[in-house]
């Protein structure tokens, strides 16, 4: 129907839909299999993996996961880490961008260079040393370890803010000074709000990164109560080898909240990802 245009049948357009149909299948097939198997009993599991379950009202697997996988704790720990890291990143990132973007001082190019060079040193390569450092600071096995690392070791926010602040006209600062506002007030009431779009980009990119991070929580927080989303499913699967129904239920529980969030915020997420890619 939609392939009919005024010019008549268009084979290229038809081909596009065929390709999109294949892609749709490829994207949705793995989650579909997880979805149907999350509702199956252990006996049903032996049959075809994509057969529908006998009943979609069998919530045993979900109950089991909620009981044993610390999902609630995992989400609340992840949430805490994300929020604390974001606040730190936004405050420190805007502060640095304000100084480097607005104030002239001796050694500025050195400071700027130090931050920019840091963006090309991958955090993951220095963990062998950072681990000993965190341990000596007494932060091993505490939420502070990932928070501090997400705030301190990743400097991409400075790059994003710096790009952005250079496009905000200096006349705005000057008009603030004519009104007698202090520099801190200019930073807080004029520049900070105007950096909002950069902050949105940052919030989206960092949230996705932190939520997906396995390495840092795995390395720094082996303690049971400090489980995050990434480590929760890993531990749970480690203890429940081959119990597919349970693992599928765990996967679903983890995926549903972010999928819903994504569907509501898609517009912002797309623009955040695009801005981040072009600037980062």
């Amino acid at each position: 129907m939609q392939t009919k245009k005024r010019t008549g049948w268009d084979p290229v357009n038809g081909l596009k839909y065929v390709i999109l149909a294949i892609a749709t299948f490829a994207v949705l097939f793995p989650p579909y299999v997880v979805f149907v198997n999350a509702f199956k009993t252990e006996n049903e599991g032996g049959a075809s993996p994509f057969a529908l379950p006998q009943s979609f009202l069998n919530f045993d697997n979900f109950a089991n996961v909620m009981d044993r996988a610390n999902i609630v704790q995992a989400f609340s720990n992840t949430f805490l880490i994300v929020i604390a890291s974001l606040i730190g990143n936004v405050i420190l990132g805007t502060m640095v961008a304000y100084v480097l973007g607005r104030i002239e001082f001796r050694g500025k190019s050195v400071v700027l260079g130090a931050f920019l060079v840091a963006t090309i040193i991958p955090t993951i390569t220095t963990q062998v040393v950072v681990f000993s450092l965190i341990q000596s600071m007494g932060m091993y096995n505490s939420l502070l370890a990932p928070i501090l690392l997400f705030i301190g070791a990743d400097v991409i926010q400075i790059y994003i803010y710096l790009q952005f602040i250079r496009n905000i006209p200096y006349e705005l600062d000057e008009s603030g000074m004519i009104d007698g506002a202090s520099l801190f007030r200019i930073y807080r009431s004029i520049l900070f709000p105007l950096l909002g779009p950069a902050t949105a980009t940052l919030v989206i990119l960092k949230t996705i990164n932190i939520y997906n991070e396995l390495y840092i929580p795995f390395l720094y927080m082996p303690k049971q109560e400090l489980v995050v989303v990434s480590t929760s499913i890993m531990r749970f699967a480690g203890n429940n080898q081959a119990q597919w129904g349970n693992i599928c239920a765990a996967i679903l529980i983890i995926m549903i909240p972010t999928t819903l969030l994504y569907l509501f915020l898609q517009k912002y997420i797309f623009s955040g990802v695009m801005n981040g890619a072009v600037k980062g």
Binding site: I103, A114, P122, S182, L183, L219, T258, M274
Partner: protein, 294 residues
Amino acid sequence: MNNWSYSAQRKLILIAFLAVPLALLGMFTYYPAVRLLFQSFTDWDGISASSEWLGMDNYKEIFTNPALFGVFLHQIPYVVIGVIQNIVAILFAVILNSKIRGRNAFRVMLFLPFIMNAVAVAFMFQYVFDTTNGSLNALLGFLGLESLQQSWLGNTSLVNYSLASIGFWRFMGYNMVIYLGALQSIPNDMYEAAKIDGSSRFQTLWYLTLPNLTKIIQLNMFLTLSGALSVFDLPFVLTKGGPAGASETFLMKTIETAFQFNNFGLASAMSVVLLVFTVIILTVQNAVLNRKGD
């Protein structure tokens, strides 16, 4: 603070705003980098107060022991699949940039894997790739393609391709969205002009669309390359480096060397090697992008 001169305020702000960020930068970026380099010449075990100076021995070990440097070979499939992933992403970006129904719905769906938790995705694919109960083998059986059924994660020559294809599933939509953003910034009148000149669809794609994407294609290729250098999550979660070490990556080896074998000296040298490779890739990237850009 209102009564202070602006130059005094500038000094105060300069110190107050830079102190903490610079301290963090020194602590978590530069100190570790320097310390890493120093440790890489020693045999430090991670605990002892003292260590022996080994000179270049650790580096010799890395480049001569195939069990160490050789694992980079396992990461080639990630580069191969990554390149294919970018080509496919461009294809979908072009398709979704044309007038087509359900454009936004398709875009939302293709990007969906990217926002799913990486570890959950890994376990999801454990179920896809499982030899006896896996849905991929079941699907092949259903299609009458039993001959293609495989031990996807158990076959030493296949395992890295299987793992890399999970990355493909997860990141193709992400690449596509970036390409789509670049496509949308190509002015529409250029396409109008091409149409008036009577250029075919293929000609438009080849001579107009792709040249305008060059910069972003290069950026994505370098991302693919530096990503392939530091693969960790997927093999770590799904295969633990198996079967028979066939899916171990250099970063996994590094972690293992440090935290299981307590050979922090050698692990530091391995980190330095990884760091240097990444920096080389990024430097080449910047050089290439800047040359083309200006």
